[in-house]
Amino acid sequence: MQQLGEETQWIQAALQGDQEAFARLVEQYTSSVFNLCYRMLGSTHDAEDATQEIFLRVYARLGSYDLNRRFSTWLLSIASNFCIDRLRRRKFAWVTLEDTAFMLPSSEAGPERRALQRERADIIQAALQSIPSQYRLVLVLRYWHDLSYSEIATLTGLSESALKTRLHRARKQLAEALQEDGATLWDVETTTS
């Protein structure tokens, strides 16, 4: 509760242009936003860029924040919309002139990166990337951010029953994705040889 009171003070100060106050908010929530972006967008690099842009957006829209809502939920809703939008735009990212090999999120160049992915630890991340973004979002919000059903429902604009259905399907999809045996990502070397 004390936390909330402090937060409200920071927000009101930030609205008046107090950037120090906004910095407190940023410190408080960077990890949360970063992790959401990491799970949604697939790479730490994209997550960093996204976090930055999201906080810029939050700063600009601070005036429209309703003090009666939880700030964290409002913040995460901006972050979620941003990530969904970014993912949608990714479909057209191939329209460049570089000789980029391919666009699967875990495709960052470097043998170390690829080796990392083959470790057990990152299999969940890879599986997350392979399911549709709408399902990914509800899973991340529920299991990585521990939001309640009603919070996720407000955030995504779904009714609670629709949310439950979606969550159920999302769990199934992830479980199926995990069952692909020995699944590894396309190796660039083998393509060009």
Binding site: G63, A121, Y143, K164
Partner: protein, 164 residues
């Protein structure tokens, strides 16, 4: 996917599925929280613009307005040019040239040449009767739908090594 059996899960089923899933995640050590890079928060705050939120919002709105105004301006210009061109092709071919100084000037000469050169092309278009246009439109819509369907039905797949 139909509503069918998935619609109403009982509380117990819901909880069971939830717990099974959590166990599944746990097998892989999830959910894990990553630590963001140490300086990320500092970086973000240092790059905040120097104005108040309200001002930032105003600037954004203004930029969007500017962009849409530009689009409207381009559209309008194209419309005016097309009207002019249509008039030059169908009624008086020397009018466009006259508007830029007359056919004697270099620019007017070029404009006149373009206006005249458009005539045989335009004659071809106007000779296409309405039925052909309609059939063409229907064909384009049908083909476009098929094209979109084919293009978006492939998915990037996680491939296994031995499938290469």
């Amino acid at each position: 996917m139909g509503r069918g059996n998935n619609n109403e899960l009982s509380e117990a089923e819901e909880r069971a599925a939830h717990e099974t899933f959590q166990a599944l995640l746990e097998r892989y050590g999830e959910p894990k929280t990553l630590n963001p890079p140490v300086n990320l928060a500092a970086r973000i705050t240092s790059q905040l613009p120097n104005a108040r939120p309200a001002e930032i919002l105003r600037r954004e709105r203004r930029r969007l307005l500017g962009r849409s105004l530009l689009l409207w301006a381009i559209g309008l210009t194209w419309l005016v040019l097309s009207a002019l061109g249509l008039w030059g092709i169908m009624v008086d071919s020397s009018l466009p040239a006259l508007l830029v100084g007359g056919p004697q000037t270099a620019l007017g000469h070029v404009v006149l040449a373009i206006t005249l050169a458009a005539k045989p092309l335009f004659a071809l278009f106007s000779s296409i009767n309405l039925l052909v246009w309609v059939v063409g439109l229907v064909t384009v819509i049908a083909l476009g739908w098929a094209w979109w369907k084919m293009l978006t039905q492939v998915q990037p797949m996680v491939l296994s090594r031995n499938q290469l």
